[in-house]
C-alpha cells in the first residue's frame, strides 16, 4: 500500500488503489472502457506545467480518447476561456451521486459510465468522492491523473516528486491515446 502525499488521505482500510506510472498502461485501461468520463476540477486552472495549464492537458486527453467531460466547481468558466465547453456540469459530489446509480444513463445517454477519471480536485475532497464510488458504485472503475496517490481510486498515479515526471506522464498518455485511435 503506497502512502498518499497528504496524510489526511491515508487509508484506514483494506482495499487500496493500484498505483501505476506507465502511461501506456493507463491508456490501455482508458481504451478498454466502453463509456469513460473525465471529471475536471478547479485546480486544473491553477496549475501549469512549463507554462501549459493542466486544463489544456485535460482537454487534450478528452479529445484524444473521445471522452466526455464533466465540469465541476467553477472550471466551466475557465474552459470557456480556452474555447471549450463541457459535456455536462455537476459538482464533484453531484456527479458521484449520479455515477453510483446503476440506472443513470450517463452523460451521453448511452448507459452509466464504466470508468471515471478525476483530474484537478483538492486531494481531500477528491479522495472522499472516490470513497463514495468505491463503496457504492461497484459497477465502475475509478482513476486519477493528479500527481498524488489517491488510495480510494482503483488506479492512481504515484506521488511524483517532480513536476517534470508528471508532465512527461501526461504527454506520453496523450500520445498513447492518440496512437491507439
Amino acid at each position: 500500500m503506497v502512502l498518499p502525499l497528504h496524510r489526511v488521505n491515508v487509508l484506514t482500510g483494506i482495499k487500496s488503489a493500484k498505483v501505476l506510472e506507465d502511461p501506456a498502461e493507463y491508456a490501455g485501461w482508458i481504451r478498454r472502457a466502453k463509456r469513460p468520463l473525465l471529471v475536471l476540477g478547479p485546480k486544473l486552472a491553477e496549475i501549469s506545467l512549463n507554462g501549459k495549464s493542466l486544463l489544456e492537458y485535460a482537454l487534450e486527453i478528452a479529445k484524444a480518447a473521445n471522452i466526455p467531460t464533466c465540469a465541476t466547481a467553477h472550471i466551466k468558466g475557465k474552459m470557456a476561456e480556452l474555447g471549450a465547453t463541457p459535456d455536462c456540469q455537476y459538482d464533484l459530489v453531484e456527479i458521484a451521486n449520479r455515477l453510483n446509480d446503476p440506472e443513470w444513463q450517463g452523460v451521453r445517454k448511452e448507459g452509466n459510465h464504466d470508468l471515471v477519471i478525476l483530474f484537478g480536485m483538492r486531494t481531500d475532497m477528491g479522495n472522499q468522492a472516490l470513497s463514495n464510488l468505491k463503496h457504492f458504485a461497484p459497477h465502475l472503475k475509478t482513476m486519477t491523473l493528479c500527481k498524488y496517490v489517491y488510495p480510494h481510486a482503483d488506479y492512481s498515479l504515484p506521488n511524483f516528486r517532480k513536476d517534470e515526471q508528471w508532465k512527461g506522464f501526461l504527454e506520453n498518455l496523450i500520445t498513447s491515446l492518440k496512437e491507439e485511435k
Binding site: H6, G13, H74, C88, L92, V93, Q128
Partner: protein
Amino acid sequence: MAKVVETKETKKRQEVNRIIRAEDQWEPIGATPMPEITDLRNWDMRLLKTYKPWYAPFCDLCCFCTYGKCDLTECRRGACGIDISGQQGRIILLACCMGMSAHGGHARHIIDYLIEKYGEDLKIDLGDSVAVEAPHIRTVLGLKPETLADLRTAIEYVERELVHLISSLHTGQEGSYMDYESKALHASMLDHVAMEAADIAQIVGFKFPTSVADTPLVDAGLASLDSSKPIVLVVGHNPASSTNIIDYLRENDLYDKVEIGGICCTALETTRYSDRAKIVGPLSRQLYYVRTGMADVIMTDEQCIRTDIAEEAKKVGSALIATSDKACYGLEDASERDVDEIVKEMVEEGKQFLILDHEKAGEVAVKVALKLAPKRKKELISEAEAQELAKACRECEMCERVCPNLFSIGHGIRQVAEGNFEPIREIFSQCIGCGKCEEECPRNVPIFKIMQVAASKETFKVRAGRGPIMDTEIRNVGAPIVLGTIPGVIAFVGCSNYPDIDDVAEMVEEFARRKYIVVLTGCAAMVAGMKKDENGLTVYEKYPPSFDAGGVVNVGSCVSNAHITGAAMKIANIFATLPLRGNYEVIADYILNRVGAVGVAWGAMSQKAASIGTGCNRVGIPVVLGPHSSKYRRLYLSKKGEDDWTVMDGRKAELVDTGEPSPEHLAYVTESKEKAMVLIAKLCIRKNDTPQGRAVKLNHYISLYKKYMGGGLPEDLDLYVRTDKDLPIVYKREAMAYLKEVGWKPKPVLSLPTLIGTYPSKVSLEAVIH
C-alpha cells in the same frame, strides 16, 4: 392490549402537559410536544426520500468493539451485522450527539450558574421588541419559558433524549442508516433547543444586548490588543469566567490598565458584555496567538480549545487558568484555595490551576496578569530574524504532507529565507492553525514564529453580537421573504478555518450588495469583519445592522445560531400566524417550502458544526459546506429533476407534480467559493415564490452564474421557471430562447405548497392553512 397502550400514552401525555403547563392557553398544542426519538420519524423519512444520504466513508473499518476491526468495504458486514451505510449513519449520529451535548453542557452549566447567582425565578425578558422569546423551546417542547427554571426544564428534556440517542449507538442496537439519520436529525433539532436555552440564559443573566440592532463596533484583529499593558486572553465559548474578569476590573477601577481579548466564541460573548474587550480572532488563530507569548494570562473555558494549551502556555511563559469541568488538563483544582496564595504560586512558580469558582478565577486572572506582565518581554520577531530562522528549511515537503489544508508551507518558508514575504502572507491567511507542520518538521523550523512577520498588524471593526432577531423586524420582512422579493436570508455560521480565511468576507459582501439579508455567528462573524475594502471599511461598517434587505447582522456566538433558525420559525409564527406550540412538522414544512434561507458553514471543523447544520436541515433549511467538509462523510442530496418533487397544494388539497427541485439539496459540499455563491442563490428558491419574487431570485442566480461560471445560462434554468413571468426582465430574451431550445413547458404556481399530506403524519392538512 390496546387499552394498556392507550393508558400508557395518556399518562405520558399527562406528564408532558404538566411539564409544559398545558393549561396556559397561549397557543393550541400541536401534534408533537416534547417529541421522543420516533415522534418525528415520518417527517425525517419524508425529507430523506427526496434528500437521500450520500456517504463518503472516511474510514473503511469499524473499530468500535472487540469483535473488530471489521472491514466494511464491498458490501461486507461487520461482526455485529452493520454495513458501511449503517456505520456512516452511526458516526454521523455520534458527531451530532457530541455537538449537541457540547451546547447542552454549555447551557446546563450557564443556567445552573445563573440560577445559583440570581435564583430560578429570574424572568426571561428579551426587551420590548422580542415577544416570541424562544421559538425553538416553544415549537419543540410546547413550553413558553418565563424564567431560568423553565430553561432548565428545556435542558432536562434534551438530556433525557440524549441518553436514548447515545444508547442507540451501542453495538447491536440500530441497524438502519435511515434510522440513524432520523436520530441524527432528532439530536440536532435538540441542539438548537440547547443553544437557544444557553443564549437566552446568557442574555438575561449577563444583560447582553437584546431588542437592538445597532450594537457597538468592537476592535478586532491580532494587533487589537495593546501589548504594553497586561493581557488576559480568554479562549473557548462560555462567558461565566470572562464576565467575572470584567466585573473585577470595573469594581477595582482597573479597566484602563488591563487588556481583555478573546479567541473563538468567548471573544464574541465577552464583547457582548463589554465593548471594550477585543476580538483577537477565530479558532484558527489560537495556537498562533498563544505562541506569540503576548498573553500574560490565558483563561480557558470550554469547547474548541486546543487540548495542549496548558503545555503551549508554559512554553511561552503565559500563565494559565482552566475554568471548566469539561477541560481540566490534569491541573490541580484550586477552587477552594485562597486567591493570594494561588496568585503567588502562579507568578513565582509558574503553576497552572483549575479554578471552577468563576468569580475567583476572574480575580486571579487579573492579579496574575498585573504582576506577571512587567516581568515579561513581549515582542514579535523582525523580518531579518524570520529570514534567518527560515534558512534552516530544506523544502522537504513534510509540512505539506501533514497540512489539513494541503498547503505547500515549505515553499513559503524558503521564500522568507530569500527575503520574499509575500507567499508566507498568503499561506498565513489560509493557515488553520493546527501546528502539525511545525511538529513534523525534521529541522525544527519554528514555522509559527516565522509567520509573525506575515500576520496583519491592522485592527478591524466587528459589530458585537446582538442576539435574537426582533419581532418587529420579522413583521417587516416576513412578507418579502416568503413572497421572494427579498431574495434570501444567508447565514454564515460557525468555524471559518478552511479553505481561505478571506472567503467568508468576500461572500458576505457579494450577498449584502445584492440585498440579501446576511446573518452571521461564531468565528465566521469575526472573520467577516477582518477584511477591509479599498476605503478601509469592513462589512460591518458598510452595511446596516438590521435584519432587512442588505443588512449584515452579527447574531452572536455558536449558541446564537438558534436565533437564526428561530427567525425562520418566527416568520411562520408572526407573519403566517401558524402556532409554534408543539407544532414542529408544520413549522419545518413551512420553512422548507416558503422561507428562502440558506446556511453556509464554509470552514466548519467540529462536531458542533455537524449538529448545527443537521438541525437546520430538519427544520427545512439547506446548508452549504466548504470542500474539506466532505470529511463529515454524509450529505443530503437530491437527484435534481430526476427526483419526485410532488407536493400538496394546500388550498386545493391536490397533489401537484411541480418538477421543481427547490431547494435542490439539504446538505452539500462544494469545492470553490465561486460555485458556492451560485449555489447559495439557487438554494434560496422556494415553491411559494410569487412570480415577482421568483424573478428577483432568478436574476441573482443567473447573474452570479454568468459572473463565476464563465457566461451563458444555468443548465437547469428550465426547472425553476414556472411561467414566463418568473423570468427577470434583463435576461428574458436570452432565457426564453434557451427555454425554447430545451423544450420547456409552463408549470403550476402554487400558493400553498406543503409536504403535509404526502406522507403518513398525525398532522392534518388543515393545520398548514393559515
